[in-house]
Symmetry: C2
Subunit: 171 residues, 2 copies
DNA sequence: GGTATGATTGTTATAGTATAACATGTCAAG
DNA sequence: CTTGACATGTTATACTATAACAATCATACC
């Protein structure tokens, strides 16, 4: 259910810090309710499949492959053919509710939908958690680099692979 | 053949500007000779397949899929099974002689091998040319963003999709 | 030279990712 | 209650990538 954010939730107050312990159920529910509002606003439909796919992605901070999602959908009575998963994932990505992690050929829920953002991702190779990092400065630097060649950026992919704090300790 | 760079070549003097007209044969040959030197320096071998794959990539400023490369290899008498192409491509990437463009599931030759660089790529969706852009400031910004979560970056993917100057005019 | 050693290439087979094309079903507007 | 648009289901196939093993080649060493 939607929360008002009057209470402290590291996951919600600093959604970029997916690596930190936080009330995950809370931030998931929050993202979901924001997603519903956004979709309704645009006159689009968050149908059962789409909603369920978003929920599945929200249940983890990890990126899930399309076929992982598909398996869970199928187990719940939805279609079990690839297009079922890919269409829902594509819809969510187009609406900014999910992101594709190209390095992993996988998808992750957007933790702060609605806020315009060209996201940067931090992918921990230890625990497979994917965090969205503040990307505005990165994008700005990229724009500068592109501008020097007269290149106009339309979409960008910014992903970093490495180790999160916990996994650094473990190693 | 190797060139001395005493003559003007937009492609070599500003290798980031792949979009600009330039003596492509010149900058390709230059990259190839640098590649040979680098590999020899490390005590590794630029075998016929590896060398040919690098040449194939250098013939274009576009990214080629592994199977595109494979087809050309096969036509020239090399093996025609995927691992032949993937192994050569992996070798070239490990040695910094080629880069994987994740957005395209494809590979492109590195235009300035040897110079340490975590590259950023500008991918023109009009003409499919891929340019390497100066990425140091972008990486720095990404490091800052990651550092705020205590995340340590090991490898990164920075790719921008858009339109190069010529294709902007055409559109 | 001969041969042990490891690196490289070739090949078979299979796994994993993604989309085209079309049939069926659902929903809201008129 | 029908029409039209959107969404879902299904079949089939295309594209990308790797595991595992066999054969070959290069090098260093005896």
């Amino acid at each position: 259910m939607a929360h008002t954010h009057s209470d402290a939730c590291p996951g919600c107050e600093a959604p970029d810090l997916a690596f930190a312990a936080h009330d995950h159920a809370h931030c998931s529910a929050d993202a979901l309710s924001r997603a519903e509002a956004l979709v309704a606003e645009k006159g689009l439909r968050l149908t059962p499949v789409r909603r369920r796919v978003l929920e599945i992605l929200l249940e983890e901070h990890r990126a899930l492959g399309a076929y992982d999602v598909l398996t869970r959908l199928a187990a719940e009575g939805f279609g079990n053919q690839p297009p079922v998963a890919y269409r829902a994932l594509d819809f969510l990505e187009e609406q900014g509710l999910a992101h594709r992690i190209r390095r992993l050929n996988a998808f992750t829920a957007c933790m702060h939908p609605g806020e315009a953002h060209a996201p940067a991702f931090l992918i921990c190779r230890g625990c497979n958690v994917v965090a969205e990092a503040p990307a505005a400065p990165v994008m700005a630097a990229l724009q500068v680099a592109a501008g020097q060649s007269g290149f106009v950026i339309e979409r960008s992919t910014i992903e970093a692979l490495g180790l999160c704090p916990s996994c650094q300790v473990a190693a």
